[in-house]
Subunit: 115 residues, 3 copies
């Protein structure tokens, strides 16, 4: 089966699709001046945009791994998450704390979705 890749850069692509499943790169905020809620909203928006490019959407997300730079932002992240996630279609999820590649990033989200 063939592999489709979206936004293929020299180091990574933003999304690889194979056999009806989309694997997204860790999505991170672009505007690091935002607080945890704002950064989370931006990251979730990037996920929406990527999924739309292959005809998928947030009701078709299978699993999510959330890395928070500081678990003190857990409630703030969840407030934004809870407003965004579609009721009846919530994905499997795990959240842990981990230091992220850019110290200004508060959150990084890795998504696997059905296409």
């Amino acid at each position: 089966m063939s592999i489709q890749r979206i936004d293929v850069g020299p180091r990574l692509c933003e999304m690889a699709i194979h056999n009806g499943t989309a694997y997204l790169a860790g999505q991170v905020p672009e505007d690091t001046s935002l607080d945890a809620r704002g950064q989370t909203a931006q990251v979730l928006g990037f996920i929406d945009t990527l999924l739309a490019r292959v005809g998928s959407d947030k009701t078709r997300i299978l699993s999510v791994q959330i890395f928070l730079a500081d678990l003190a932002d857990y409630d703030a992240m969840n407030q934004t998450w809870d407003e965004w996630v579609p009721q009846g279609h919530t994905p499997a999820r795990a959240t842990v704390q981990a230091k992220l590649a850019n110290p200004a990033w508060k959150v990084e989200i890795v998504v696997t979705a059905a296409v």
Copy 2:
């Protein structure tokens, strides 16, 4: 292809199944008074129960990500794991240390399995 979701809550579901693959949410202990061996046993029991609900079982696990709050519990977790994991059907696995959302949790396990 359709997606089946198990124990769908407002924030996440405990398991999403698509195209013959089950993606489980990070499983965590319920009884946080238990030591690392006890918490691991409880988490593995939750995994057994979830897999059984879609006709799968621990011989059909593909990959496992284990997050330990403290790698000092690595040997204790592994003792329980080694007693539980079915010989000849051991999954791909990775274990790292990460601070978990509830400071009383010693272990969180993320499973992908064949259904």
Copy 3:
């Protein structure tokens, strides 16, 4: 659908294949005297070898999770990665810092690939 497992040990296997997708165990360096570049190169070599055993290769990797024991090694890891990763076929990727099971390991890489 049947599951194929490679290098099945008592605790884990090095790779499980199901439905056209290969799930690799977290690959770690064997020679811990190596620096971050050398450890990364060794880990990527193990990934090449595992993928070759099921007729896959690095052009068919879907997603990669990189755990670095110290993000100070981010640039060194990336130098080796950038030399290795096939242009036009780069995978989805996420990199975070996490303490690894052996304190001498600088990097652990988890791969999902198409077979």
